[in-house]
Symmetry: C2
Subunit: 258 residues, 2 copies
DNA sequence: AAGTGTGAAAGCATTCACAGCG
DNA sequence: CGCTGTGAATGCTTTCACACTT
């Protein structure tokens, strides 16, 4: 999804970016979104001491089918050996390089509430190409507290931190009402990639990428399918309370959830 | 993305499910994934006291373009008025009903570590169609602790809880190594929708939907694009350390990140 | 043999552009 | 007149199937 070149980042849409040239490094967005999954699968295989794997094995470990995997890898180059498969370490390195995580990216986390704490304590950052450069919060009551080795700093210091550490990626873990203002300030400070945990659509200028993680949205998508499964049962075994209870015509004010 | 009918849930893939019949409620998966976003936008408009909106306005609030919004809504029915727009409350109700969140779904959260705590304290559940039925953890040291009104219970009680509360949706917030075993037990207990926060691919039987939320994957996707932006600058202003530092030929053991 | 890499085909999703309705 | 709803066109993604390499 990444919304470079668009004012709003849509959710999970594999919107293609304005490709400079199809031949020149044109990796499809859908493929880019899977490369991290392949990378993790390779790390798992590597940890198990497996030196070589077929597209079938790697695909299984990554939860995709092998045709898709091979097509995806083909955009990176020819890193396999016909008749044999892939060298786990070699492919792992190539994908890490393609993604750009052979070195660590410094990241700032803004909003150190419940979620921010959890993120700050997450141990997987360093092994996956990231390093927390700073924890920021606008609430003076939280500043100074140490969370997972790092002190919470005043949000005001964002410009300084971006300049000093070369931070390009920011994580927003604030309440929804604060998110847009925080986002604007991050962008003004020079941050060009944002991971948004606040349940809000962020508006950003062209050239800034936004991805979002939204618990409620994920649950609601599950609920939709769950309802459908239940509905199938209902048709076999009817007699349960069914559709359209309240909310008669338009303009009524029935309590719809949101 | 939901992987009903597939053994593995792929990440962010809009994999279509085995449609029973195209005419009979065939809402595309990409549309389903956006309905929650529209719902949230409508709630925001509603809170602002706005009674009516055009597709253009709603699309802006939801971060998509109006053609896509109208096409999406057309799968639900004709809930707008030509020349006028949409009644905010009415459309809100219709979308909530379509998603299935006019009543609350009971949800269990498994693994009450840092992230589990954050999820348990998240206040948005009830207003968005969900209710935490129980918090579970396998660690006796955590059991009994009260988090956001609810006590942490032994994971062993899952079957009992599913039966008693009719829980269909489970959230996995355990460490990665525990996730598959927890998942298997949830499925055995009767849960058919899973939201997975553990950085692992889960294998589930047909009929069980899995969605995943993965911080590292999101950050790595951002890193990929960020690297590309930096690369463009490099070509204008060269002289920076560039590609392919270590990792010469295959079989080498350079330290690739994962 | 075994398994990768890849054109070509099929399937989805998005966008266009406008008929049709209030 | 304005704006929705929607076929048709376009573009992307996935799948197929097999030539080709080791």
């Amino acid at each position: 999804m990444t919304s470079r070149g668009k004012r709003f980042g849509a959710p999970h849409d594999g919107a293609s970016r304005p490709t400079a040239d199809k031949s020149e490094r044109g990796i499809p967005e859908a493929t880019v979104a899977r490369l991290p999954v392949y990378l993790r699968a390779l790390v798992t295989l590597s940890d198990r001491g497996i030196a070589t794997c077929s597209s079938e094995e790697l695909a299984t470990a990554a939860g995709v089918n092998s045709a898709k995997l091979r097509k995806d890898l083909s955009y990176l180059g020819s890193y396999g050996t016909r008749g044999v498969g892939y060298d786990v370490e070699y492919l792992r390195y190539q994908i890490a390089r393609e993604i750009g995580v052979t070195q660590d990216w410094p990241v700032v986390i803004v909003g150190i509430g419940n979620l921010g704490h959890a993120l700050a304590n997450y141990s997987g950052f360093s092994s996956r190409g990231f390093r927390i450069a700073a924890l920021l919060d606008a609430d003076p009551g939280r500043q100074g507290e140490v969370v997972g080795d790092l002190p919470i700093l005043a949000f005001d210091r964002i410009e300084e931190l971006v300049a000093e550490h070369g931070v390009a990626i920011g994580v927003i873990a604030t309440p929804a009402p604060a998110a847009q203002a925080v986002c604007d300030r991050l962008v003004a400070a020079g941050i060009t990639s944002i991971l948004n945990f606040a349940p809000t659509v962020l508006a950003v200028p062209e050239g800034v990428d936004v991805r979002k993680v939204d618990l409620s949205i994920e649950l609601q998508i599950l609920a939709y399918h769950e309802q459908r499964k239940a509905g199938l049962l209902d048709r076999i075994d009817p007699g349960l309370p069914d559709t359209t209870p309240a909310m008669p015509g338009k303009t009524t004010t029935a309590k719809a959830v949101g």
